[in-house]
Symmetry: D2
Amino acid sequence: VGARLGDHRAFAHLWGTEELRALFDEDATLQRWLDVLSALADTQAELNIIPADAARSIASHVRVELLDLDRIAEGTRTTGHSTLGLIRELQRVLPDDAHPWVYYGATVQDITDTATAIALREVARIVRRDLLAIEDTCLQFAENHRATVMVGRTHGQPGSPVTFGWKAASWADEIGRHLQRIGEGVPRCTAGQLGGAVGTLGFFGQVGPQLRTAFCQRLGLVDPATSWLSARDRIAEFGTLLALVTGTLGRIGNEVYQLQREELGELREAVAPDTVSSITMPHKRNPEVSEHLVTLSRIVRANAGVLMEGMVSEHERDARAWKAEWVVVPEMCLLAGTATHLCAVMLDGLEIDTAAMAEGVAATRGRFASERLLAGLALRIGKHEAQSLLQRLLADGKTADHDLVTTLAEHPELSVHFDAQTREELTAHPDVGAAAAMIDEVLARARGERSRHADPGP
Amino acid sequence: VGARLGDHRAFAHLWGTEELRALFDEDATLQRWLDVLSALADTQAELNIIPADAARSIASHVRVELLDLDRIAEGTRTTGHSTLGLIRELQRVLPDDAHPWVYYGATVQDITDTATAIALREVARIVRRDLLAIEDTCLQFAENHRATVMVGRTHGQPGSPVTFGWKAASWADEIGRHLQRIGEGVPRCTAGQLGGAVGTLGFFGQVGPQLRTAFCQRLGLVDPATSWLSARDRIAEFGTLLALVTGTLGRIGNEVYQLQREELGELREAVAPDTVSSITMPHKRNPEVSEHLVTLSRIVRANAGVLMEGMVSEHERDARAWKAEWVVVPEMCLLAGTATHLCAVMLDGLEIDTAAMAEGVAATRGRFASERLLAGLALRIGKHEAQSLLQRLLADGKTADHDLVTTLAEHPELSVHFDAQTREELTAHPDVGAAAAMIDEVLARARGERSRHADPGP
Amino acid sequence: VGARLGDHRAFAHLWGTEELRALFDEDATLQRWLDVLSALADTQAELNIIPADAARSIASHVRVELLDLDRIAEGTRTTGHSTLGLIRELQRVLPDDAHPWVYYGATVQDITDTATAIALREVARIVRRDLLAIEDTCLQFAENHRATVMVGRTHGQPGSPVTFGWKAASWADEIGRHLQRIGEGVPRCTAGQLGGAVGTLGFFGQVGPQLRTAFCQRLGLVDPATSWLSARDRIAEFGTLLALVTGTLGRIGNEVYQLQREELGELREAVAPDTVSSITMPHKRNPEVSEHLVTLSRIVRANAGVLMEGMVSEHERDARAWKAEWVVVPEMCLLAGTATHLCAVMLDGLEIDTAAMAEGVAATRGRFASERLLAGLALRIGKHEAQSLLQRLLADGKTADHDLVTTLAEHPELSVHFDAQTREELTAHPDVGAAAAMIDEVLARARGERSRHADPGP
Amino acid sequence: VGARLGDHRAFAHLWGTEELRALFDEDATLQRWLDVLSALADTQAELNIIPADAARSIASHVRVELLDLDRIAEGTRTTGHSTLGLIRELQRVLPDDAHPWVYYGATVQDITDTATAIALREVARIVRRDLLAIEDTCLQFAENHRATVMVGRTHGQPGSPVTFGWKAASWADEIGRHLQRIGEGVPRCTAGQLGGAVGTLGFFGQVGPQLRTAFCQRLGLVDPATSWLSARDRIAEFGTLLALVTGTLGRIGNEVYQLQREELGELREAVAPDTVSSITMPHKRNPEVSEHLVTLSRIVRANAGVLMEGMVSEHERDARAWKAEWVVVPEMCLLAGTATHLCAVMLDGLEIDTAAMAEGVAATRGRFASERLLAGLALRIGKHEAQSLLQRLLADGKTADHDLVTTLAEHPELSVHFDAQTREELTAHPDVGAAAAMIDEVLARARGERSRHADPGP
């Protein structure tokens, strides 16, 4: 029975997706190991290291449904060896002339590191696919809401206005960099491993490197220049990629969470018909997915630290670091992949309350123009005097009480510099500066990237 | 099917114990929630908030074996609410006159925080029990090996000698401090929670605080002064306690791992008869448990960081932090508890190779006396001159080549200061200084603590 | 010249206080080492290990203003030894008959660990003092604002009302637990160190332990049972204490930052007359101190992880861990102490906008009563029916659009259950449940603690 | 006075290099800001936004030596604004017709982010240069020691032999991947910033984007598609790059530390003539630089976590995250750059004790051949029987006691399968498998990379 809450039936959907869980459950994990063993045998047969018949027999028998997982588990516990339970079960299952040739000359880490590389490649594919969907949605927001003016906020305080499209373009831009990082980093991270006892391939004599190359090729993995049993930068890099990606998803989630505050109400997660936010407060509507993106980003980031710590590995194999990966890598993949999926879904259904956005801007009573007013005044009385004057007029009391429209009209120190039309121009329409141009640039670059990588897939 | 490797049948024993897994599997977790609901109903009946019959009926029906977990899970997913699936299943299972009274006026976090407190108390009991066993073993080592001389090492280099008993006393001393920390911290960390919607107990009117006090009392938990829905220092503190404890277990594990190096061979993990360290190198014997202690300490520490991060919680409930606890707290408990268990077992079977220890000291050819020789020489020619002279004589070339016995005998600058007998005294017997006295002090303090806490249990 | 931004003249005030900087600058650090050397010599003279004259002479000469720090630095670099530069400078400065007796039989770590313990004790005193001030302010808020109703928020969404006093009481309650933790943990963390080469006090023969005890006593430090050269739990615990404390300060800071949002405007940092929030947007007023509390909490927490990692120390001294403390411990102390100071100042000047709080509650148009309405309706039609009905009536559309006062009056399914007076009672006055009782309990407990620890100081 | 130990005169050399400190001291930091201001003015003049004379005047006056840093600091503290002190000092220093045009339309973050990008580019150049030196040394080791046989170790236990050249090739291979990562990542990370108040460049009207592009071009920085005030993935990525790099340096350092153990003695750090490892134990020689690499890697990694956390930034600017960068980024650069420098120096002087390596192999008395013997025996009696037989013969007792040469000769179950010559062949010469071929592959790839990037520099 699963002791991890992330696998409890009632909550598994928050900490995994069906697709990802199917990659990391025990059957799938074991089958991936078996696939690696089969690929190894096939390659060895190809190079006449083992009999071709044995390889064929292995290929048809290394199927998880033929094995008794309890027996494997029992063997693992008894021997204290990570794969000897499996090896013995394979002996039982394989025909007599095949079983000496399975797992031939390999060591545990050859199997698990190679299987991990396969899993990571698949995780990268899933994450990349969902990031592309997120980017698409954000780009569409950027395009559709290029003129949807809303309050810009720094330090949590209303400042000059922005547009929602511009905000979404920033998300798309950041996601775009992750797609680049994945494109560059994933091939580097997903190398096969075949080193034998200490990494020198001593078991195989001089054919070792050729075997490894062919083995990696057969599995579609990068062939490393040398064994990387204790060179864990690949794994650590993959971990940081996931942490960086979920960092961005956490940023998007947090933004939605904050803008969904009822007092702002600019964005809202979609709510499915049967959803109940609160049983004690029936009126509530909580931004639960967006919150969860922040949650997931925290756990993924913490786990990335474990993988980086593991880089300081000792000698030719260091189980202190390596075994941590056994738990941390799948956990990170599950959580990061879930975050990517949930973010895509959340953005898909995002309610953009353009009226609330407009009201938010109006509520600042012209204060959105303070930057532009400063610019205009600076041209007239110099930048420093302009700053001093405006600070004096605007910095007292509660910010929300200031009304720039009135101040501008009625305060002689200001009104003397601007005629009525200019005053009107300044405060009637929020000026979002070059927001549209930046949106266009983000769109152009993203489209450029897409056309350069017509056939996606890391 | 479990997607977490820590729950895979073949590896679950490395990332959990039966006892701990039985605390955190889905049935146990749900039953703990149900126990909290039952205690709440009982307390409410006692205070005439709900009918006594309803409470009795609830008590007899809130048993996990009566519920359909798939239905609960389905309801959880459909409503997007953490416990509404459960609540509806309870409605189905409970008699008509009881079901309006279950989960009465409480909110999700009341149930889960209180259940977590119960779980943490139990985890603390288990960890404390195993730490006491570890302390016992270390104290016994300290006593039995008070005179077992071995090389002391600083910066990884042999220095003055120590005894194995003294090394073990340092472990015991550190474990003893953890027992103190648990004794002080766990009661503070394991408070009940009853706050309702936002923590003010608004549902219950003025009887709220009395209800909470009685509810906590019934469950044997600390009654908090106020709701702690977003005051997560208790959880974070518990996390740091586990991280500190596993830090020490990691230190012990790492020490065994290093001293088991074949070139040192001073300590060795016991090996069960069927254990196989390496399938490719049949001669090997790996320190697998000790390595694993380091592994576990890393993951527990990383998770502690997530809980500390969660302290910066917003407003009256902040799911970004709180939901992270759902996964991180059980994970930490499982791993820290496993580490404690494994360390106890490992120390129990530890092979202490006193011959290798003695050989290690002998191999330094008297260099163990360099501190003492310095002391003697300092009395004769002054400390600085003594340091200069010895550094000159001993600092060239490879440390391992220096033979202090011969140097002392043959080098005129030294031999002039010491007669033959003194030279013999200096190098014949390694001097472990006040090691024995420190052992006695550790033993005395530990025994004092034990007698003060005759009836253990946080 | 300082390369650390935290020491740049323009920014040092954000990353240190004068008081803390004066504890950790080079002169102070060195003087603390010298004080330890002097205490050691005095103790050694007391036990006739060194001449009394020498100790007296040492006491009068080990003053940082007598030493040439550049010469010390030069010696440190040349010898690659942490204190040999200092030792040689002491030789130069001390009279001939004293200099052989300074630093007698001690090793670097004896001096630095003991000096660190002294510094930590002082940091704990400062932090504790400022936490007491913070607790005072929060308790006063709790008392003064026991009836200041404001919106309670969960998941960032308005829920049932709370009072500002109750919110502040939660802060006080959490700070109170930190005061407990400091009271318990700091004495455990601040032990002296005297172990010599490998920790056995071999240099001193059998008088070693007596010397250490007297040495610790002279410095007012805890006498450890045994050397703790590689038992770093004390340092790690101190680090977690600081991280937990700043976690709470980060929570308070973040709360102020969020509640200062112009759209909420419930709290505001005081602004000094000359403060300028934004040069480009003159109207702005930023919650800069509260933000900074969050910033500081993040860095302190990250550093706490380094200290926990250092617990896995190897053999009798492990510079990989220990040297990290040299940088991380002062950094954490500076930042955590600064956070405590800034939080105290910020709370002192906090503007509590009770009108905005009341408006916030009013803006929910009776929705604050949804929990209470649910309670009332549950008594009439059963809990589940009540929940369904209210969810149906309130869960559609944008939460902010719901007007419970009108709904209650006009919706027949509801109005049938409540007469006009009851409806009025429900929505006219926000019900903050047992908030006042909880405040009283927090106040009572805090006062109890204060009276128990009349003479503060860890 | 500097409160940070990393800046204390006596220890600054361990936590910075002259070159790096000169990048991050207050003068240099301020000058970098001034350079950005000057570049901004020049670009604005070019686009006729400000008078050309003003820009020229600014260019000649924004020199740190003309400014009064105490006055700036005083202004910073008084206004609570990060650059207003500087702005006022510039007003004082600049001619009347120039001072309104300095810092025109920019905000603090425009200046600091752009200046940070410049600093990061320089740090990357330094780190890359030193990594190339490290790679060179490792490649030379790989070439020179391709046949220097030494014990391979897994789980800390001697296993099949490797060569030192092969070990060094793994270092070079890992460093090579970092060079790739830097080549790809640094340009992405080092973008200029110009966004004004909230990032929309509202101050400048439609010329904004053109201004930013020209401004970035002038500084040789990447022109971002949109403002990245709260899109901190670039900074976080840079942080992970440094953490990954120092992870590898920590691995190399730890390896040297462990192999320098006197009982192994295979590697030794060079010792400068005046170096003193221990004042209490004059015979010692400590691996201090290698230890320090591990220390530095820990702190850098912890800080990388802070930068990743900062990715979850709120709205258009979030000082909670951004201000953490102010301290963390320079600290990481200083420490990571120091680690790179120290590692290069350490490897340069590394003593490779080939005799000790050979003795280590000999001390295993033929056990190094166990993998190969298994291979040979597997061909004769099948893999599983071979494994069982060898485990039975070799797994009892203390590993170090096994003598494979004798066992092979005398044990009938084994000797029957191998004639004397084969036995001799098996155990006379350690077989390092494909180590040499892997070395060649690493060399070939590294040379290929070099020739592709003839003109280095990120």
